[in-house]
Amino acid sequence: MSADILPGRRILVVEDEMMVVMMIEQLLEEAGCTVTAAGRLEQALVHAQAERFDAALLDVNLNGEWSYPVGDVLAARGIPFVFATGYGVDGLPGDYPDVPVMAKPFKDHELLDTLRALLGGSGAFERDPR
């Protein structure tokens, strides 16, 4: 295995559950990434439009609001991202057939592997079979 591609990466984490944000921040920072977290839609949009990121993690439902506008901005800017959802992978609304989806709750290594795949590191990304 070649050197990990995660260190030094700038990751946008859009998630409204504080405990989950804290876990992800700690996990990614331990992996050498710089994390910008947003818990609300407007906040996330501002970051997505204004800052540079290598990748993003978007919770689909932000306290009752859909995070798709953030996805649209990221896609327009060419920033790869992954959806996280409590709805289960079957019933995900929206029109992002190529965007990977992680079902909450997910394990720590699951998140790291998915981000590595997004950043084109360890081989081609394979979509979660679920």
């Binding site: 989950v20 804290m22 959802t85 709805y87 289960g88 019933g91 079902a103 394990k107």
Partner: protein, 732 residues
């Protein structure tokens, strides 16, 4: 002439005087002879005349003597003078001359005589006069004329007679018995009736001409009897003629001991009418309807047997003691007098529903009463009232039944909240109930006779036209099957509304489709409800998952801060994950149920099952659906079994496998078996861990069924009883 006549007359007189002296006695004979006698001189003057001839002429003897015939009987002179002169000139006598003239005795009556005229000669042979003998044949001539006239009249009358008439003369055998008859006379009608045309029947044998008479047991013996005894008779008989049967009346009378007259009349028309009348009478008698006739004062003259039975009358006499109103219930009897019969007499007919009352039992019988006036065909004056009446009790009863059933049906149709449309074979709406009117916004008169599809289903919600041939309701009719489905109909106000429909064909008795019944249910509320329910379940699931993610994050961070044995994080995390996965299964079916097969696959996913397949697992069992609690409990139980197998059992080696099988139990539940094979030899654990407790106690408690975990040396086995309470009978 007078020179010659003078000596001639005096000579004749002198001669006669001499003769009379000589034949003095003959004078008396001459004068009293029964034939008329006279002597005329050559001037045709009467010289002598006897009393008989003087009487015929009607003048005394003296009025004749010395006078010319012309002077005495002028009418005679014209016809006979010339002939008399010829006798005088030629000397040839004339015998039997027929002379007719009127006489002074009877002016106006033509008299007829036979006369002999003989010349009288003197001694020298010279003609000196005529001796005349006269026989009066007037009576005879008159009788002959009368006979001729009578005969002519007879023939004329016979020719004019429409009936056939023959005179037959008996032909007797040596024994004196009548053996045959021959025709003596037949009139024109007889020719025609006997099909003889102009052929002369006279003198022909009756038996030869008409051989059938020989064997006719009625006619010939009557003819014979009639001619022998004078017994006349009259008989009606059928004859076959030109292939058709005609009836004749055959009347015979004796004319004299050798002759009979036969009069035969074609009575076919009368007979046909009689038969017709008999046929009508039998129809009337055997009719199953009441038929009756009364006079104009409603006195009943006739009622047929069906009518008598209906009204409880025993005999024709009983019928004739009744009046029409007697046949009806009191209220209707009054109507008969005041309304019905006046209408019959005035307008000619009255028809309506009334109630008969049986005069014996008092039972009321509903009838259709049809009364009409019969007018005298000759005068046109009203003559009778005829009544036709049909017992409609049965029809009334079936009408009542029909009305009841209709009432029930419309009570159902008008109170159900299901909209019901009915269409004919052309898809035209012929009926809609109140719910259908409320749902569609249309009333029946607005929609009746129009193609229903074109009114309430003409467009898709996006505005495209919806042609009839694409409509599943129409297709259902064509395929002759009941069709169900969901569609969007268009309200009168233009808005669309979602409906669930069932279209059923209406069939006639031969099975042909004559229409469609369309039941329609408004499912807008249902659609909204189910959408809301879906959203709520999604929201719930989202929150559950977020909670689980939060729990996991807390555990993760706590364990980072306080390092513990490496297995702890995994033990907690994997169980949280297992719980999360089983939630996914239930979410998929809105928390109603989960298929057992999917629960097993989902639980074993972290242990190498991908795309429902793994070489390490053998999973087999029928489709069974678990209630949510059972699915969650079983999912956690299987996760513990698999975790254990991965650590110590079949999944801890390269080749070990796990068999999961289930089958229906006797109690209607399911028995599930977990069996490990090919793992390291098994030793029962010295201490029950959290995992085995979760299986044996937690699962048994949740399912309310026995769970047996056994540590056989060949591999761990676990039998799980899933009682029927945990199952759902069908996939909702």
């Amino acid at each position: 002439m007078s020179d010659q006549a003078e000596p001639s007359a005096s000579k004749l007189k002198a001669g006669l005087k001499r003769l009379s002296k000589r034949l003095g006695t003959l004078d008396q004979v001459y004068d009293s002879a029964p034939i008329g006698l006279c002597v005329l001189d050559t001037d045709l003057r009467f010289v002598r005349i006897n009393q008989r001839l003087a009487d015929i002429n009607g003048l005394p003897i003296d009025a004749h003597l010395g006078r010319l015939v012309r002077e005495v009987v002028p009418g005679l002179a014209t016809s006979s003078e010339a002939l008399l002169r010829r006798v005088l000139e030629t000397g040839q006598p004339v015998m039997g001359a027929e002379v007719s003239a009127e006489t002074p005795a009877e002016p106006g009556r033509l008299r007829h005589w036979l006369e002999n005229w003989q010349p009288l000669h003197d001694a020298n042979g010279q003609i000196i006069g005529v001796n005349v003998a006269v026989l009066d044949v007037t009576a005879q001539k008159e009788a002959e004329a009368a006979l001729r006239e009578s005969e002519a009249r007879f023939r004329a009358s016979q020719e004019l007679l429409p009936d056939g008439f023959c005179i037959l003369r008996a032909v007797r055998a040596a024994s004196g018995e009548v053996a045959d008859f021959v025709w003596e006379f037949s009139n024109r009608a007889a020719f025609q009736l006997l099909n003889a045309d102009s052929e002369d029947l006279e003198g022909k044998s009756v038996l030869e001409r008409m051989p059938a008479h020989r064997d006719n047991p009625v006619l010939f013996p009557r003819y014979a009897l009639c001619v022998q005894t004078g017994a006349g008779s009259s008989v009606e008989m059928p004859y076959e003629q030109h292939g058709e049967v005609r009836w004749y009346n055959n009347a015979i009378a004796r004319i004299d001991p050798d002759r009979i007259g036969v009069l035969f009349r074609d009575i076919t028309a009368r007979k046909t009418a009689e038969h017709e009348r008999q046929r009508l009478a039998s129809i009337v008698e055997s009719a199953s309807d009441f038929i009756g006739v009364s006079d104009l004062a409603m006195n009943v003259i006739f009622v047929n047997s069906c009518g008598m039975k209906l009204l409880g009358m025993e005999s024709a006499e009983a019928v004739r003691r009744t009046r029409i109103p007697d046949y009806f219930a009191p209220g209707d009897a009054l109507r008969i007098e005041t309304e019905v019969v006046p209408a019959v007499l005035g307008q000619g007919r009255w028809t309506g529903e009334l109630s008969f009352r049986n005069m014996k039992t008092g039972r009321l019988v509903p009838v259709i009463y049809d009364a009409f006036r019969i007018d005298d065909p000759a005068s046109g004056a009203p003559a009778n009232i005829a009544m036709l009446t049909r017992d409609i009790s049965e029809r009334k009863q079936s009408e009542d039944r029909l009305r009841d059933s209709e009432r029930r049906l419309s009570a159902v149709l008008n109170n159900t909240r299901m909209a019901v449309f009915m269409m004919n074979a052309d898809q035209h709406c012929v009926y809609m109930n109140a719910a259908a009117e409320a749902l569609s916004g249309y009333s029946l008169p607005e929609i009746q006779g129009r193609v229903l599809h074109d009114v309430i289903h003409h467009s898709y919600p996006d505005g495209r036209p919806y042609p009839l041939h694409d409509c599943p309701i129409d297709r259902g009719l064509n395929d002759q099957n009941q069709v169900q489905g969901e569609e969007n109909f268009v309200h009168k106000n233009g808005r669309f509304y979602a409906v669930a429909f069932t279209a059923s064909p209406i069939r006639d008795s031969e099975g042909g489709i004559v229409g469609t019944v369309l039941e329609v249910r408004d499912i807008r509320q249902e659609k909204e409800d189910s959408l809301r329910l879906e959203m709520m379940i999604d929201e719930l699931n989202h929150r559950v998952k977020n909670s689980l993610a939060t729990v996991q994050s807390i555990v993760w961070q706590a364990l980072r801060s306080h390092p513990v044995a490496s297995g702890v994080k995994e033990a907690i995390e994997s169980r949280v994950m297992a719980l999360s996965r089983s939630h996914d299964l239930l979410t998929r079916r809105s928390w109603s149920s989960a298929p057992l097969g999917e629960v097993v696959l989902k639980s074993l996913e972290p242990f190498g099952i991908t795309d429902s397949h793994s070489e390490r697992f053998s999973i087999e069992g029928p489709e069974v659906h678990l209630r949510p609690n059972a699915a969650l409990a079983l999912s956690l139980g299987l996760h513990e079994l698999a975790t254990n197998a991965a650590k110590y059992g079949a999944l801890a080696t390269e080749k070990g496998i796990v068999r999961v099988t289930w089958q229906p139990g006797l109690d209607g539940g399911v028995g599930l078996l977990w069996r490990e094979e090919g793992g390291p030899p098994v030793e029962p654990p010295r201490r029950r861990g959290f995992g085995s407790k979760l299986i044996e106690r937690g699962l048994a408690h949740e399912l309310n069924g026995a769970v047996r975990l056994t540590y056989a040396p060949g591999g761990v086995a676990c039998e799980i009883e899933v009682p029927p309470d945990n199952l759902r009978s069908c996939d909702r």
